[in-house]
Protein backbone atom coordinates (compact mmCIF):
# COMPACT_ATOMS: atom_id res chain seq x y z
CA UNK A 1 0.00 0.00 0.00
CA UNK A 2 2.15 2.81 -1.13
CA UNK A 3 1.02 6.28 -0.53
CA UNK A 4 -0.10 8.27 -3.44
CA UNK A 5 2.74 10.68 -2.95
CA UNK A 6 5.53 8.36 -3.70
CA UNK A 7 5.76 6.20 -6.68
CA UNK A 8 6.33 2.66 -5.59
CA UNK A 9 8.13 3.01 -2.36
CA UNK A 10 9.05 -0.50 -1.42
CA UNK A 11 8.22 -1.54 2.06
CA UNK A 12 9.96 -4.77 2.79
CA UNK A 13 8.70 -6.72 5.74
CA UNK A 14 11.71 -8.34 7.23
CA UNK A 15 10.39 -9.88 10.41
CA UNK A 16 7.08 -10.90 11.86
CA UNK A 17 6.84 -11.98 15.46
CA UNK A 18 3.84 -13.91 16.64
CA UNK A 19 2.85 -15.76 19.77
CA UNK A 20 0.42 -18.49 20.52
CA UNK A 21 -0.39 -20.88 23.27
CA UNK A 22 -0.61 -24.62 23.34
CA UNK A 23 -2.91 -24.74 26.27
CA UNK A 24 -0.92 -27.41 27.89
CA UNK A 25 2.21 -27.78 29.82
CA UNK A 26 5.20 -28.76 27.76
CA UNK A 27 8.05 -30.88 28.96
CA UNK A 28 11.04 -29.07 27.59
CA UNK A 29 13.33 -31.98 28.15
CA UNK A 30 11.24 -34.27 26.07
CA UNK A 31 11.10 -31.73 23.32
CA UNK A 32 14.82 -31.25 23.48
CA UNK A 33 15.55 -34.93 23.35
CA UNK A 34 13.08 -36.06 20.80
CA UNK A 35 12.43 -33.03 18.71
CA UNK A 36 14.23 -32.33 15.52
CA UNK A 37 16.18 -29.14 14.99
CA UNK A 38 15.93 -28.02 18.58
CA UNK A 39 18.27 -26.14 20.83
CA UNK A 40 17.79 -26.52 24.53
CA UNK A 41 18.65 -23.59 26.71
CA UNK A 42 18.15 -24.84 30.24
CA UNK A 43 19.70 -21.71 31.70
CA UNK A 44 16.90 -19.66 30.34
CA UNK A 45 14.29 -22.36 30.50
CA UNK A 46 13.27 -22.56 26.91
CA UNK A 47 13.70 -24.60 23.81
CA UNK A 48 14.36 -23.10 20.42
CA UNK A 49 12.95 -24.96 17.52
CA UNK A 50 13.85 -23.92 14.05
CA UNK A 51 11.75 -24.64 11.05
CA UNK A 52 13.01 -24.66 7.54
CA UNK A 53 10.11 -24.22 5.30
CA UNK A 54 8.80 -21.04 6.67
CA UNK A 55 12.14 -19.96 8.03
CA UNK A 56 11.06 -19.60 11.60
CA UNK A 57 12.59 -19.83 14.98
CA UNK A 58 10.27 -20.55 17.83
CA UNK A 59 10.95 -20.14 21.51
CA UNK A 60 9.01 -22.66 23.48
CA UNK A 61 8.39 -22.31 27.15
CA UNK A 62 7.20 -24.97 29.48
CA UNK A 63 4.07 -23.03 30.23
CA UNK A 64 2.98 -23.66 26.67
CA UNK A 65 3.62 -20.19 25.40
CA UNK A 66 5.43 -20.07 22.14
CA UNK A 67 6.96 -17.10 20.41
CA UNK A 68 7.51 -17.44 16.72
CA UNK A 69 9.99 -15.18 14.95
CA UNK A 70 11.57 -14.89 11.56
CA UNK A 71 8.58 -15.01 9.30
CA UNK A 72 8.36 -12.59 6.43
CA UNK A 73 4.61 -12.20 6.38
CA UNK A 74 1.70 -12.61 8.69
CA UNK A 75 0.39 -15.58 6.85
CA UNK A 76 3.72 -17.20 6.93
CA UNK A 77 3.89 -16.61 10.63
CA UNK A 78 0.58 -18.30 11.11
CA UNK A 79 1.49 -21.19 8.96
CA UNK A 80 4.76 -21.67 10.72
CA UNK A 81 3.08 -21.49 14.07
CA UNK A 82 0.67 -24.18 13.09
CA UNK A 83 3.39 -26.38 11.83
CA UNK A 84 5.17 -25.93 15.05
CA UNK A 85 2.12 -26.88 17.01
CA UNK A 86 1.73 -29.89 14.85
CA UNK A 87 5.29 -30.83 15.57
CA UNK A 88 4.69 -30.63 19.26
CA UNK A 89 1.55 -32.60 18.91
CA UNK A 90 3.50 -35.34 17.24
CA UNK A 91 5.88 -35.40 20.12
CA UNK A 92 2.98 -36.44 22.24
CA UNK A 93 1.72 -33.28 23.82
CA UNK A 94 -1.93 -32.42 23.86
CA UNK A 95 -1.41 -29.29 21.92
CA UNK A 96 -4.20 -26.97 20.97
CA UNK A 97 -3.48 -24.09 18.75
CA UNK A 98 -4.91 -21.06 20.40
CA UNK A 99 -4.33 -17.41 20.95
CA UNK A 100 -2.36 -16.83 17.86
CA UNK A 101 -1.42 -13.18 17.65
CA UNK A 102 1.02 -11.29 15.56
CA UNK A 103 2.83 -9.16 18.00
CA UNK A 104 5.33 -7.26 15.96
CA UNK A 105 6.11 -6.52 12.38
CA UNK A 106 9.38 -5.04 11.30
CA UNK A 107 9.73 -3.45 7.91
CA UNK A 108 12.40 -1.45 6.19
CA UNK A 109 11.97 1.19 3.59
CA UNK A 110 14.33 3.33 1.67
CA UNK A 111 13.70 6.90 0.67
CA UNK A 112 15.14 8.06 -2.57
CA UNK A 113 16.68 10.98 -0.77
CA UNK A 114 18.82 11.69 2.22
CA UNK A 115 17.36 13.28 5.29
CA UNK A 116 18.54 16.05 7.50
CA UNK A 117 17.86 14.62 10.88
CA UNK A 118 18.33 17.79 12.89
CA UNK A 119 15.74 19.61 10.90
CA UNK A 120 13.43 16.68 10.96
CA UNK A 121 13.63 16.49 14.68
CA UNK A 122 13.15 20.19 15.09
CA UNK A 123 10.07 20.16 12.94
CA UNK A 124 8.49 17.27 14.76
CA UNK A 125 9.62 18.21 18.19
CA UNK A 126 7.65 16.13 20.62
CA UNK A 127 7.04 13.18 18.42
CA UNK A 128 10.51 12.75 17.08
CA UNK A 129 13.58 12.38 19.22
CA UNK A 130 17.16 12.30 18.15
CA UNK A 131 20.14 11.55 20.31
CA UNK A 132 23.09 11.19 18.00
CA UNK A 133 25.42 10.14 20.80
CA UNK A 134 23.20 7.25 21.63
CA UNK A 135 21.87 6.18 18.30
CA UNK A 136 22.46 7.48 14.81
CA UNK A 137 18.77 7.47 13.91
CA UNK A 138 15.93 9.74 14.84
CA UNK A 139 12.98 7.98 16.42
CA UNK A 140 9.48 8.94 15.43
CA UNK A 141 6.63 7.40 17.31
CA UNK A 142 3.10 7.44 16.02
CA UNK A 143 0.93 6.99 19.01
CA UNK A 144 -2.36 6.08 17.49
CA UNK A 145 -0.79 3.56 15.21
CA UNK A 146 1.50 2.33 17.90
CA UNK A 147 4.25 2.36 15.35
CA UNK A 148 7.83 3.41 15.76
CA UNK A 149 9.90 4.67 12.90
CA UNK A 150 13.61 5.02 12.97
CA UNK A 151 14.89 7.51 10.48
CA UNK A 152 18.44 7.42 9.29
CA UNK A 153 20.23 10.20 7.58
CA UNK A 154 20.79 8.07 4.51
CA UNK A 155 17.10 8.00 3.88
CA UNK A 156 16.51 4.46 5.05
CA UNK A 157 13.89 3.96 7.65
CA UNK A 158 12.81 1.03 9.72
CA UNK A 159 9.26 0.72 10.91
CA UNK A 160 7.94 -1.52 13.60
CA UNK A 161 4.29 -1.91 14.34
CA UNK A 162 1.72 -4.38 15.55
CA UNK A 163 0.74 -5.48 12.10
CA UNK A 164 1.55 -4.92 8.50
CA UNK A 165 -1.27 -2.58 7.91
CA UNK A 166 -0.15 -0.24 10.61
CA UNK A 167 3.32 -0.29 9.27
CA UNK A 168 2.20 0.70 5.84
CA UNK A 169 0.10 3.49 7.21
CA UNK A 170 3.00 4.72 9.26
CA UNK A 171 5.21 4.95 6.24
CA UNK A 172 2.61 6.91 4.44
CA UNK A 173 2.26 9.24 7.33
CA UNK A 174 5.88 9.93 7.75
CA UNK A 175 6.77 10.28 4.16
CA UNK A 176 5.77 13.91 3.70
CA UNK A 177 7.57 14.87 6.85
CA UNK A 178 10.69 13.28 5.58
CA UNK A 179 10.24 14.80 2.24
CA UNK A 180 10.35 18.19 3.78
CA UNK A 181 13.66 17.63 5.34
CA UNK A 182 15.49 16.27 2.40
CA UNK A 183 19.11 16.88 2.65
CA UNK A 184 19.93 18.47 -0.65
CA UNK A 185 17.04 20.84 -0.17
CA UNK A 186 18.00 21.91 3.26
CA UNK A 187 21.64 22.12 2.40
Amino acid sequence: MDSSNDDALDIIVSNVVATFRTRCHLNLRTIALEGTNVIYKPEVGKVLMKLRKPKITASIWSSGKIICTGATSEDEAKQGARRLARCLQKLGFKVRFSAFKVVNVLAVCSMPFAIHLIDFTKNNRPIASYEPELHPAATYRIKNLKATIQVFSTGSITVTGPNVQNVATAVEQVYPLLFECQKPLCE
Partner: protein, 460 residues
Protein backbone atom coordinates in the same frame (compact mmCIF):
# COMPACT_ATOMS: atom_id res chain seq x y z
CA UNK B 1 47.76 -62.51 12.09
CA UNK B 2 46.81 -59.00 12.60
CA UNK B 3 49.44 -57.42 10.56
CA UNK B 4 47.57 -54.91 8.54
CA UNK B 5 46.26 -52.92 11.41
CA UNK B 6 45.72 -49.27 11.50
CA UNK B 7 45.88 -47.23 14.61
CA UNK B 8 42.21 -47.65 15.10
CA UNK B 9 42.46 -51.37 14.92
CA UNK B 10 45.27 -51.29 17.39
CA UNK B 11 43.13 -49.36 19.76
CA UNK B 12 40.34 -51.82 19.37
CA UNK B 13 42.64 -54.71 19.90
CA UNK B 14 43.95 -53.18 23.04
CA UNK B 15 40.42 -52.69 24.21
CA UNK B 16 39.69 -56.31 23.51
CA UNK B 17 42.77 -57.26 25.43
CA UNK B 18 41.75 -55.23 28.41
CA UNK B 19 38.29 -56.59 28.50
CA UNK B 20 39.35 -60.15 28.10
CA UNK B 21 41.98 -59.90 30.73
CA UNK B 22 39.73 -58.31 33.21
CA UNK B 23 37.17 -60.94 32.58
CA UNK B 24 39.53 -63.79 33.03
CA UNK B 25 39.18 -63.93 36.72
CA UNK B 26 35.46 -63.69 36.60
CA UNK B 27 35.32 -66.45 34.12
CA UNK B 28 37.44 -68.63 36.25
CA UNK B 29 35.40 -67.88 39.27
CA UNK B 30 32.33 -68.90 37.45
CA UNK B 31 33.95 -72.16 36.64
CA UNK B 32 34.24 -71.61 32.95
CA UNK B 33 37.29 -72.80 31.23
CA UNK B 34 39.89 -70.55 29.92
CA UNK B 35 39.39 -71.76 26.43
CA UNK B 36 35.93 -70.30 26.47
CA UNK B 37 37.40 -66.93 27.06
CA UNK B 38 39.91 -67.47 24.35
CA UNK B 39 37.23 -68.55 21.99
CA UNK B 40 35.35 -65.41 22.76
CA UNK B 41 38.41 -63.39 22.17
CA UNK B 42 39.13 -64.98 18.85
CA UNK B 43 35.60 -64.60 17.75
CA UNK B 44 35.56 -61.01 18.73
CA UNK B 45 38.81 -60.24 17.04
CA UNK B 46 37.87 -61.97 13.89
CA UNK B 47 34.58 -60.23 13.66
CA UNK B 48 36.14 -56.94 14.30
CA UNK B 49 38.82 -57.48 11.77
CA UNK B 50 36.26 -58.60 9.30
CA UNK B 51 34.07 -55.65 9.66
CA UNK B 52 36.66 -53.01 9.96
CA UNK B 53 39.73 -54.48 8.50
CA UNK B 54 37.92 -55.54 5.46
CA UNK B 55 37.80 -52.00 4.43
CA UNK B 56 41.43 -51.66 5.16
CA UNK B 57 42.26 -54.72 3.17
CA UNK B 58 40.07 -53.80 0.37
CA UNK B 59 41.40 -50.37 0.24
CA UNK B 60 44.90 -51.61 0.30
CA UNK B 61 44.47 -54.27 -2.26
CA UNK B 62 42.65 -52.12 -4.61
CA UNK B 63 45.11 -49.38 -4.60
CA UNK B 64 48.33 -51.10 -4.36
CA UNK B 65 50.19 -53.61 -2.52
CA UNK B 66 51.00 -53.79 1.07
CA UNK B 67 54.31 -54.50 2.38
CA UNK B 68 55.23 -55.53 5.79
CA UNK B 69 58.83 -54.95 6.36
CA UNK B 70 60.41 -57.12 8.86
CA UNK B 71 63.82 -56.23 9.86
CA UNK B 72 65.71 -59.14 11.13
CA UNK B 73 67.52 -58.99 14.31
CA UNK B 74 71.20 -59.24 14.42
CA UNK B 75 71.42 -58.67 10.85
CA UNK B 76 74.98 -58.10 10.22
CA UNK B 77 75.53 -57.82 6.61
CA UNK B 78 79.10 -56.91 6.26
CA UNK B 79 79.68 -53.45 5.12
CA UNK B 80 76.24 -52.40 4.65
CA UNK B 81 74.78 -50.62 7.50
CA UNK B 82 71.28 -51.42 8.03
CA UNK B 83 69.75 -48.12 7.50
CA UNK B 84 66.81 -48.50 9.59
CA UNK B 85 65.19 -45.57 8.08
CA UNK B 86 63.09 -46.33 5.20
CA UNK B 87 62.21 -43.29 3.38
CA UNK B 88 59.26 -43.60 1.24
CA UNK B 89 58.86 -40.50 -0.76
CA UNK B 90 55.24 -41.03 -1.24
CA UNK B 91 53.22 -38.43 -2.79
CA UNK B 92 51.58 -37.57 0.41
CA UNK B 93 53.63 -38.74 3.26
CA UNK B 94 57.06 -39.64 3.95
CA UNK B 95 57.24 -42.44 6.27
CA UNK B 96 60.39 -42.58 8.12
CA UNK B 97 61.09 -45.77 9.72
CA UNK B 98 62.37 -45.81 13.19
CA UNK B 99 65.86 -46.71 13.58
CA UNK B 100 66.32 -50.26 14.35
CA UNK B 101 69.21 -51.56 16.08
CA UNK B 102 70.90 -54.46 14.66
CA UNK B 103 71.08 -56.31 17.81
CA UNK B 104 67.65 -55.66 18.95
CA UNK B 105 65.35 -58.35 18.12
CA UNK B 106 62.37 -56.61 16.97
CA UNK B 107 60.18 -57.21 14.11
CA UNK B 108 59.33 -54.01 12.43
CA UNK B 109 56.19 -54.27 10.51
CA UNK B 110 55.31 -51.44 8.39
CA UNK B 111 52.88 -51.25 5.59
CA UNK B 112 53.39 -49.28 2.52
CA UNK B 113 50.46 -47.41 1.25
CA UNK B 114 49.09 -48.42 -1.97
CA UNK B 115 48.96 -46.39 -5.01
CA UNK B 116 51.90 -44.22 -4.46
CA UNK B 117 54.29 -43.66 -7.22
CA UNK B 118 56.98 -45.10 -5.33
CA UNK B 119 60.52 -44.84 -5.40
CA UNK B 120 60.56 -47.00 -2.41
CA UNK B 121 63.79 -47.51 -0.78
CA UNK B 122 63.99 -50.60 1.21
CA UNK B 123 67.03 -51.14 3.26
CA UNK B 124 68.79 -54.36 3.29
CA UNK B 125 68.02 -57.01 5.69
CA UNK B 126 64.40 -56.40 5.27
CA UNK B 127 61.79 -58.98 4.85
CA UNK B 128 58.92 -57.93 2.81
CA UNK B 129 55.60 -59.46 3.17
CA UNK B 130 52.99 -58.89 0.62
CA UNK B 131 49.38 -58.64 1.33
CA UNK B 132 49.05 -62.17 0.24
CA UNK B 133 51.26 -63.22 3.03
CA UNK B 134 54.38 -64.17 1.26
CA UNK B 135 57.55 -63.19 2.93
CA UNK B 136 60.51 -62.11 1.06
CA UNK B 137 63.75 -61.16 2.48
CA UNK B 138 65.82 -58.40 1.07
CA UNK B 139 69.44 -58.58 1.67
CA UNK B 140 70.37 -55.73 -0.44
CA UNK B 141 69.09 -52.25 -0.16
CA UNK B 142 66.47 -52.04 -2.72
CA UNK B 143 64.98 -49.04 -4.25
CA UNK B 144 61.84 -49.87 -5.99
CA UNK B 145 60.73 -47.19 -8.24
CA UNK B 146 57.82 -46.91 -10.44
CA UNK B 147 57.61 -44.88 -13.51
CA UNK B 148 54.80 -42.46 -13.15
CA UNK B 149 52.09 -44.63 -14.40
CA UNK B 150 52.97 -43.60 -17.79
CA UNK B 151 52.73 -46.88 -19.49
CA UNK B 152 56.11 -46.45 -20.78
CA UNK B 153 56.92 -49.52 -22.59
CA UNK B 154 60.57 -49.34 -21.93
CA UNK B 155 61.95 -49.47 -18.54
CA UNK B 156 65.40 -49.62 -17.46
CA UNK B 157 66.12 -51.63 -14.55
CA UNK B 158 69.33 -50.73 -13.09
CA UNK B 159 70.45 -52.69 -10.30
CA UNK B 160 73.20 -51.97 -8.06
CA UNK B 161 74.28 -54.61 -5.96
CA UNK B 162 75.81 -54.23 -2.69
CA UNK B 163 78.90 -56.14 -2.49
CA UNK B 164 78.29 -56.83 1.07
CA UNK B 165 77.27 -60.23 0.27
CA UNK B 166 80.51 -61.87 -0.04
CA UNK B 167 79.11 -65.07 -1.09
CA UNK B 168 79.53 -65.64 -4.63
CA UNK B 169 76.41 -65.68 -6.41
CA UNK B 170 76.71 -69.08 -7.55
CA UNK B 171 73.25 -69.28 -8.48
CA UNK B 172 72.82 -71.57 -11.26
CA UNK B 173 70.83 -70.31 -13.99
CA UNK B 174 67.45 -71.62 -13.84
CA UNK B 175 65.44 -72.95 -16.45
CA UNK B 176 63.47 -69.86 -16.25
CA UNK B 177 66.24 -67.89 -17.68
CA UNK B 178 64.64 -68.08 -20.99
CA UNK B 179 61.80 -66.43 -19.33
CA UNK B 180 63.77 -63.39 -18.95
CA UNK B 181 62.32 -60.29 -20.11
CA UNK B 182 63.19 -59.33 -23.49
CA UNK B 183 63.34 -55.75 -24.19
CA UNK B 184 60.58 -56.14 -26.56
CA UNK B 185 57.89 -57.19 -24.36
CA UNK B 186 57.38 -58.93 -21.28
CA UNK B 187 54.55 -61.11 -20.86
CA UNK B 188 53.80 -61.51 -17.34
CA UNK B 189 54.44 -64.99 -16.62
CA UNK B 190 52.39 -66.81 -14.28
CA UNK B 191 54.04 -66.89 -11.04
CA UNK B 192 53.90 -69.89 -9.05
CA UNK B 193 54.29 -69.63 -5.40
CA UNK B 194 57.20 -71.67 -4.52
CA UNK B 195 58.61 -71.32 -1.13
CA UNK B 196 60.27 -68.04 -0.81
CA UNK B 197 63.70 -69.34 -0.85
CA UNK B 198 63.20 -70.70 -4.18
CA UNK B 199 63.34 -67.49 -5.93
CA UNK B 200 65.87 -67.91 -8.52
CA UNK B 201 68.01 -64.99 -9.05
CA UNK B 202 70.81 -64.89 -11.38
CA UNK B 203 74.01 -64.59 -9.64
CA UNK B 204 76.02 -61.58 -9.88
CA UNK B 205 78.76 -63.22 -11.63
CA UNK B 206 76.64 -64.08 -14.46
CA UNK B 207 77.26 -62.48 -17.61
CA UNK B 208 75.23 -59.64 -18.56
CA UNK B 209 72.21 -61.25 -19.79
CA UNK B 210 68.90 -59.78 -19.31
CA UNK B 211 67.28 -61.98 -16.97
CA UNK B 212 63.96 -62.04 -15.64
CA UNK B 213 63.64 -63.31 -12.22
CA UNK B 214 60.52 -65.13 -11.65
CA UNK B 215 58.11 -63.79 -9.31
CA UNK B 216 56.71 -66.42 -7.18
CA UNK B 217 53.44 -64.91 -6.58
CA UNK B 218 51.45 -66.56 -4.03
CA UNK B 219 48.39 -66.03 -5.93
CA UNK B 220 49.36 -67.77 -9.03
CA UNK B 221 48.84 -66.07 -12.30
CA UNK B 222 48.07 -62.59 -11.65
CA UNK B 223 44.90 -61.63 -13.27
CA UNK B 224 45.98 -58.16 -13.69
CA UNK B 225 47.87 -58.49 -16.81
CA UNK B 226 45.02 -57.94 -18.98
CA UNK B 227 45.08 -54.38 -19.82
CA UNK B 228 48.54 -53.23 -19.24
CA UNK B 229 50.90 -53.33 -22.06
CA UNK B 230 53.75 -55.47 -21.18
CA UNK B 231 56.47 -53.22 -20.25
CA UNK B 232 59.79 -53.80 -21.64
CA UNK B 233 62.51 -54.38 -19.37
CA UNK B 234 66.01 -53.78 -19.99
CA UNK B 235 67.97 -55.51 -17.48
CA UNK B 236 71.44 -54.77 -16.82
CA UNK B 237 73.63 -57.14 -15.22
CA UNK B 238 74.88 -55.92 -11.98
CA UNK B 239 78.47 -55.48 -12.05
CA UNK B 240 80.17 -57.37 -9.43
CA UNK B 241 81.51 -54.40 -7.79
CA UNK B 242 81.85 -54.55 -4.14
CA UNK B 243 80.33 -51.28 -3.38
CA UNK B 244 77.05 -50.77 -1.97
CA UNK B 245 74.61 -50.08 -4.64
CA UNK B 246 71.00 -49.58 -4.25
CA UNK B 247 68.91 -51.61 -6.40
CA UNK B 248 66.78 -49.61 -8.53
CA UNK B 249 63.76 -50.96 -10.07
CA UNK B 250 61.79 -48.87 -12.33
CA UNK B 251 58.62 -50.21 -13.34
CA UNK B 252 55.83 -48.92 -15.29
CA UNK B 253 52.55 -49.45 -13.86
CA UNK B 254 49.30 -49.70 -15.45
CA UNK B 255 46.34 -48.84 -13.48
CA UNK B 256 46.25 -52.09 -11.71
CA UNK B 257 49.01 -54.08 -12.99
CA UNK B 258 52.56 -53.44 -12.43
CA UNK B 259 54.89 -55.59 -14.23
CA UNK B 260 58.21 -55.59 -12.75
CA UNK B 261 61.21 -57.23 -13.96
CA UNK B 262 64.34 -56.80 -12.29
CA UNK B 263 67.45 -58.53 -11.88
CA UNK B 264 68.39 -59.62 -8.57
CA UNK B 265 71.58 -60.99 -7.61
CA UNK B 266 71.36 -64.09 -5.73
CA UNK B 267 74.06 -65.85 -4.01
CA UNK B 268 72.74 -69.21 -3.86
CA UNK B 269 71.13 -71.23 -6.42
CA UNK B 270 67.52 -70.59 -6.39
CA UNK B 271 65.26 -72.65 -8.32
CA UNK B 272 63.63 -70.43 -10.70
CA UNK B 273 60.21 -71.37 -11.56
CA UNK B 274 57.28 -70.23 -13.42
CA UNK B 275 57.26 -67.92 -16.27
CA UNK B 276 56.60 -64.44 -15.42
CA UNK B 277 53.23 -63.43 -16.38
CA UNK B 278 52.17 -60.48 -14.46
CA UNK B 279 53.95 -58.83 -11.74
CA UNK B 280 53.10 -56.27 -9.33
CA UNK B 281 55.21 -54.69 -6.78
CA UNK B 282 54.55 -57.61 -4.55
CA UNK B 283 56.18 -60.00 -6.83
CA UNK B 284 59.19 -57.96 -7.47
CA UNK B 285 59.87 -57.48 -3.90
CA UNK B 286 59.15 -61.05 -3.27
CA UNK B 287 61.89 -61.92 -5.57
CA UNK B 288 64.24 -59.51 -4.04
CA UNK B 289 63.54 -60.72 -0.66
CA UNK B 290 63.78 -64.26 -1.58
CA UNK B 291 67.07 -63.75 -3.10
CA UNK B 292 68.27 -61.99 -0.12
CA UNK B 293 66.86 -64.56 2.08
CA UNK B 294 69.03 -67.03 0.40
CA UNK B 295 72.00 -64.94 1.04
CA UNK B 296 71.12 -64.48 4.57
CA UNK B 297 70.59 -68.09 5.05
CA UNK B 298 73.89 -68.80 3.70
CA UNK B 299 75.55 -66.02 5.47
CA UNK B 300 74.09 -66.53 8.78
CA UNK B 301 72.70 -69.97 8.76
CA UNK B 302 70.39 -68.73 11.28
CA UNK B 303 66.82 -69.37 11.59
CA UNK B 304 66.31 -67.37 8.52
CA UNK B 305 65.73 -70.52 6.70
CA UNK B 306 62.20 -70.38 5.75
CA UNK B 307 60.93 -66.98 5.38
CA UNK B 308 57.89 -68.29 6.92
CA UNK B 309 59.88 -68.87 10.00
CA UNK B 310 61.48 -65.59 9.85
CA UNK B 311 58.45 -64.08 11.19
CA UNK B 312 58.80 -66.05 14.28
CA UNK B 313 62.49 -65.88 14.46
CA UNK B 314 62.69 -62.21 14.29
CA UNK B 315 62.05 -60.60 17.48
CA UNK B 316 61.93 -57.08 16.32
CA UNK B 317 58.40 -56.11 16.29
CA UNK B 318 57.50 -52.64 15.54
CA UNK B 319 53.99 -52.20 14.57
CA UNK B 320 53.82 -49.56 12.08
CA UNK B 321 50.74 -49.12 10.15
CA UNK B 322 50.95 -46.75 7.37
CA UNK B 323 48.01 -47.30 5.25
CA UNK B 324 45.58 -45.01 6.79
CA UNK B 325 47.98 -42.76 8.45
CA UNK B 326 47.34 -40.00 6.04
CA UNK B 327 43.68 -40.18 6.54
CA UNK B 328 43.91 -40.33 10.23
CA UNK B 329 46.29 -37.46 10.38
CA UNK B 330 44.13 -35.29 8.27
CA UNK B 331 41.06 -36.03 10.16
CA UNK B 332 42.47 -35.08 13.45
CA UNK B 333 43.23 -31.68 14.63
CA UNK B 334 42.14 -28.48 13.11
CA UNK B 335 41.45 -29.91 9.74
CA UNK B 336 38.07 -29.09 8.63
CA UNK B 337 35.98 -32.03 9.29
CA UNK B 338 33.35 -31.65 6.78
CA UNK B 339 32.31 -35.15 7.49
CA UNK B 340 30.62 -33.92 10.52
CA UNK B 341 27.96 -32.48 8.44
CA UNK B 342 26.62 -35.80 7.67
CA UNK B 343 26.78 -37.59 10.86
CA UNK B 344 26.89 -36.64 14.45
CA UNK B 345 24.12 -36.49 16.82
CA UNK B 346 23.79 -40.14 17.31
CA UNK B 347 20.87 -41.67 19.02
CA UNK B 348 20.09 -38.98 21.39
CA UNK B 349 20.26 -41.18 24.39
CA UNK B 350 23.90 -41.65 23.90
CA UNK B 351 24.75 -38.03 23.93
CA UNK B 352 26.07 -36.55 27.02
CA UNK B 353 24.65 -33.19 26.52
CA UNK B 354 21.18 -32.02 26.39
CA UNK B 355 21.74 -29.32 23.89
CA UNK B 356 20.85 -31.36 20.97
CA UNK B 357 22.20 -30.22 17.76
CA UNK B 358 20.83 -32.24 15.08
CA UNK B 359 23.46 -32.06 12.48
CA UNK B 360 21.71 -34.62 10.45
CA UNK B 361 19.52 -31.76 9.66
CA UNK B 362 22.26 -30.95 7.25
CA UNK B 363 21.27 -34.00 5.37
CA UNK B 364 17.78 -32.89 5.52
CA UNK B 365 18.81 -29.86 3.57
CA UNK B 366 18.06 -31.81 0.50
CA UNK B 367 14.77 -33.00 1.68
CA UNK B 368 13.82 -30.27 4.03
CA UNK B 369 10.21 -29.79 4.33
CA UNK B 370 9.65 -30.37 0.75
CA UNK B 371 7.06 -32.92 1.34
CA UNK B 372 4.88 -30.63 3.27
CA UNK B 373 3.28 -27.95 1.26
CA UNK B 374 2.17 -24.70 2.61
CA UNK B 375 -1.04 -24.60 0.78
CA UNK B 376 -2.95 -26.72 3.11
CA UNK B 377 -2.81 -24.05 5.70
CA UNK B 378 -4.67 -21.65 3.50
CA UNK B 379 -7.24 -24.25 2.86
CA UNK B 380 -7.98 -24.54 6.47
CA UNK B 381 -11.18 -22.88 7.18
CA UNK B 382 -11.27 -22.77 10.87
CA UNK B 383 -12.03 -19.45 12.39
CA UNK B 384 -9.24 -17.53 13.82
CA UNK B 385 -11.06 -15.47 16.31
CA UNK B 386 -10.32 -17.82 19.08
CA UNK B 387 -7.84 -15.54 20.72
CA UNK B 388 -9.93 -14.69 23.69
CA UNK B 389 -12.15 -17.66 23.63
CA UNK B 390 -9.65 -19.99 24.90
CA UNK B 391 -12.25 -21.81 26.84
CA UNK B 392 -13.94 -23.01 23.74
CA UNK B 393 -12.55 -26.45 23.42
CA UNK B 394 -14.51 -27.13 20.30
CA UNK B 395 -12.79 -24.27 18.70
CA UNK B 396 -9.65 -26.23 18.45
CA UNK B 397 -8.17 -24.81 15.33
CA UNK B 398 -5.57 -27.41 14.98
CA UNK B 399 -8.04 -29.81 13.52
CA UNK B 400 -6.02 -32.68 14.70
CA UNK B 401 -3.61 -32.45 11.91
CA UNK B 402 -6.16 -32.49 9.23
CA UNK B 403 -5.48 -29.12 7.84
CA UNK B 404 -2.44 -28.39 9.77
CA UNK B 405 0.52 -29.04 7.73
CA UNK B 406 2.58 -31.69 9.16
CA UNK B 407 6.19 -30.97 9.22
CA UNK B 408 8.16 -33.50 7.43
CA UNK B 409 10.55 -35.27 9.70
CA UNK B 410 13.10 -36.77 7.49
CA UNK B 411 14.80 -39.88 8.59
CA UNK B 412 17.62 -37.99 10.02
CA UNK B 413 18.87 -40.85 12.08
CA UNK B 414 18.71 -43.31 9.33
CA UNK B 415 22.29 -42.79 8.52
CA UNK B 416 25.31 -44.93 8.85
CA UNK B 417 27.73 -42.14 9.44
CA UNK B 418 27.81 -41.64 13.15
CA UNK B 419 30.06 -39.88 15.58
CA UNK B 420 30.01 -40.73 19.24
CA UNK B 421 32.01 -38.24 21.19
CA UNK B 422 32.09 -35.56 23.81
CA UNK B 423 31.96 -31.91 23.10
CA UNK B 424 34.12 -29.04 24.12
CA UNK B 425 32.11 -26.31 22.55
CA UNK B 426 29.24 -26.06 20.18
CA UNK B 427 28.60 -22.67 18.70
CA UNK B 428 25.97 -21.29 16.43
CA UNK B 429 25.62 -18.04 14.55
CA UNK B 430 22.39 -17.75 12.67
CA UNK B 431 22.53 -20.95 10.80
CA UNK B 432 26.25 -21.61 10.92
CA UNK B 433 27.34 -24.18 13.43
CA UNK B 434 30.83 -24.79 14.71
CA UNK B 435 31.75 -27.91 16.65
CA UNK B 436 34.67 -28.51 18.89
CA UNK B 437 34.58 -32.16 19.78
CA UNK B 438 36.82 -34.45 21.74
CA UNK B 439 37.41 -38.09 22.45
CA UNK B 440 35.29 -39.68 19.89
CA UNK B 441 34.83 -42.49 17.48
CA UNK B 442 33.45 -41.86 14.06
CA UNK B 443 32.08 -44.42 11.73
CA UNK B 444 32.17 -42.94 8.30
CA UNK B 445 31.76 -44.85 5.11
CA UNK B 446 31.93 -48.06 7.02
CA UNK B 447 35.30 -47.30 8.49
CA UNK B 448 36.09 -46.35 11.99
CA UNK B 449 38.10 -43.37 12.95
CA UNK B 450 39.14 -42.47 16.42
CA UNK B 451 40.00 -38.94 17.41
CA UNK B 452 40.93 -37.01 20.44
CA UNK B 453 39.94 -33.70 18.96
CA UNK B 454 37.73 -32.83 16.11
CA UNK B 455 36.61 -29.53 14.72
CA UNK B 456 33.81 -29.10 12.36
CA UNK B 457 31.59 -26.63 10.65
CA UNK B 458 28.18 -27.02 9.28
CA UNK B 459 25.35 -25.05 7.87
CA UNK B 460 21.83 -25.78 8.74
Amino acid sequence: MLTNTGPVAKLYLSIIDDVIESMRELFLDEGLEDCVLDDLRHLWESKMMQSKAMEDFRKNNINSSNFVLQLPANYSQTDQDVTASVVIPASQNIQSFPRLKNNSETLATFSLPAGLAYPVQIPAGVTLQTASGQLYKVNVPVVVTQAAAGQQPARTVSEFREAAAPQSAAVPQNTTHPQEVEPSSVTASSVTPPPPQKTSLPPSQESTVPQQPPVPAAEGPQPQTADSPEPEVTLRENEPSPQLEPMNLSMTASSCTQLLDFQIRAEEALAQTAPLQSRDIDDILKEVIEEESQKVERARSLAAGKTGNQEDALGLDLDYSYDDLSDIVQLDGPADNSDLEEEEGVPLEENDFLGIINAEAIKALQEGDASSDGNSISSSSESEGAEDHVIEEEEDPLNSGDDVVEQDIPDLFDTDNVIVCQYDKIHRSKNRWKFHLKDGVMCYGGRDYVFSKAVGEAEW
